[in-house]
């Protein structure tokens, strides 16, 4: 008999139609994430209205009640299925002009040179852990521990789209003009959100949002 998996996510009812799946920690969720996202695309659970990944959670929103047993069985199938190579996560290379408003202050605070901050930020390949805060805003990780920085006490009132920033244990890219408390280290010309495509009759998620949860992102330093 096959040994049971060490860490099954817990299933938490969230209203009568929805299930919140929570893993022990972020690492155990990341181990399962690709299988799950692939399974959701190929054989979504019955009556699924939408799904929302978190850092160590997955919310399944259904249009009508679905039993816990059904979800457990689906989960088992999803975690045992092998994702096809054609659904390998996409890698996006984003060019960044590392001359953000907060770069020098951040370097001073860390006792590093701006060059070292840039190197640490650009040498990692990041995973899109979730999209939230504003449309298409990616929470990227894992960020080098040295760069973890609590959010600013008083957020900026206006941050322009394309700002590359650090907030807590994550890095991200602002997609629309908004207030925000993250530390801005650079800017990119590349767009992650194409609002002009939102009025189309034939909606393709990839044309509106460049990034999907689970995609990979690499930053490339360019000079202005």
């Amino acid at each position: 008999m096959k040994k049971a998996r060490e860490q099954q996510p817990s299933l938490i009812g969230y209203g009568e139609n929805n299930w919140l799946l929570r893993w022990q920690d972020e690492a155990s969720f990341r181990l399962d994430a690709r299988r799950l996202l692939d399974a959701l695309a190929i054989f979504p659970p019955t009556h699924l209205l939408e799904f929302v990944p978190g850092f160590q959670t997955l919310l399944l929103i259904h249009s009508q009640p679905v039993s816990e047993k059904y979800i457990r069985d689906w989960l088992k199938k999803a975690l045992n299925h092998n994702p096809s190579t054609s659904s390998d996560p996409q890698t996006h290379v984003i060019s960044v002009d590392y001359s953000g408003e907060d770069l020098e202050a951040l370097a001073r605070e860390k006792g590093l040179s701006t060059q070292e901050i840039i190197r640490l930020h650009a040498e990692t390949s990041y995973t899109v852990l979730l999209l939230g805060f504003s449309p298409g805003f990616p929470y990227l990780g894992p960020l080098s521990n040295i760069l973890h920085t609590p959010r600013k006490d008083s957020p900026r009132k206006r941050i322009r789209p394309g700002s590359v920033a650090i907030g807590g244990p994550h890095t991200g890219i602002y997609t629309v003009e908004s207030p925000g408390g993250w530390h801005i280290i650079g800017h990119t010309q590349e767009r992650l959100f194409f609002p002009e495509k939102m009025e189309a009759n034939d909606l393709s998620t990839n044309e509106i949002f460049r990034l999907n949860p689970g995609d990979l992102v690499k930053f490339e330093a360019v000079s202005s």
């Binding site: 919140l20 209205l49 978190g54 850092f55 959670t57 919310l59 999209l131 939230g132 449309p135 949002f209």
Partner: protein, 283 residues
């Protein structure tokens, strides 16, 4: 057809419909009418499909001038204007519809025969300005109905009203029934009890993203890693005053959620004006 002109949007006016499910994983909430029940019945009064866009007015001050004879329906909050809520009426060119002040309720819905002609974003007309999906309606805005808005009724039908049971019940005793939220177990027992034993008041700091409640301070559970949030969730921030997430609320959040209010109850809560006293019971 250009059937009317918005002389004054009042405190706020937006197009809303049944919302845009499916986009939360990209950071876009579903939006849609705050009181979905009333929005649907505005359409039903005119034999429109349920999901076509209606205009959602906040509280008071709106005024509309009719430019062409047409059928419109008003549901939701009761204003002290001439037309009672839950009514469809044939309006004539030159008529004015005013919503001077609400007697009770918060959100008023205005539907037109055939539905309003609007843009849509991600398959829905619901305005969500933060994500560049339209803007609130402004002064002098033209209000256009879908072409061929045939009269839904034969000549000589002048008005139609909802039965009382079809109106949003403002939860007359203002008691709402709660499901446990995902972090219910993490809250101390006294918080679980205090939520249902206390009287709460809807705060003036309430909008389409969330309704804040004022009352005793609930001892919060531990902070959590940000996770997906649904409308109707009772998030408890550090100050212990619940925030009930509404349709424009964020898709993820880091406050623990002690309770969850199912949609029908949430639509009723949405109609509770700031200052309304409310109570809760666990289901």
């Amino acid at each position: 057809m250009n059937v009317a002109r918005l002389l004054d949007p009042g405190l706020s006016a937006t197009f809303q419909d049944s919302g845009r499910p499916g986009w939360r994983r990209f950071g876009v909430p579903a939006s849609g009418a705050m009181d979905h029940h009333s929005a649907i019945w505005a359409n039903r009064l005119l034999n429109n499909p349920d999901h076509v866009p209606v205009i959602e007015f906040l509280l008071q001050g709106a005024e509309i001038e009719i430019l062409q004879d047409c059928w419109m329906a008003i549901t939701g909050a009761e204003s002290n204007g001439p037309i009672p809520t839950g009514t469809a009426t044939l309006f004539f060119k030159g008529d004015r519809i005013r919503f001077p002040r609400n007697l009770h309720g918060v959100w008023i819905y205005l539907a037109v025969a055939g539905g309003w002609q609007t843009k849509s974003w991600l398959g829905s007309a619901s305005v969500y300005a933060r994500a560049l999906m339209g803007k609130p309606l402004g002064k002098e805005q033209k209000l256009v109905s879908m072409p061929n808005n045939l009269s839904p009724f034969p000549a000589a039908v002048m008005s139609r009203r909802l039965k009382p049971e079809e109106l949003t019940k403002g939860a007359s005793d203002n008691v709402f029934f709660l499901d446990k939220g995902p972090q219910f177990q993490d809250f101390p027992e006294r918080s679980q009890t205090c939520l249902v034993e206390s009287e709460w008041q809807v705060s003036t700091h309430s909008d389409r993203t969330g309704y804040r409640l004022e009352g005793p301070s609930l001892e919060s559970g531990p902070e959590i890693t940000s996770e997906p949030v649904l409308p109707g969730s009772f998030q408890i921030p550090g100050n212990g005053q619940p925030i009930v997430t509404m349709p424009d609320g964020p898709t993820v959040g880091g406050y623990p959620k002690i309770a969850y209010l199912e949609p029908k109850q949430r639509w009723q809560l949405a109609q509770c004006a700031p200052g309304t006293k409310i109570k809760f019971q666990w289901k």
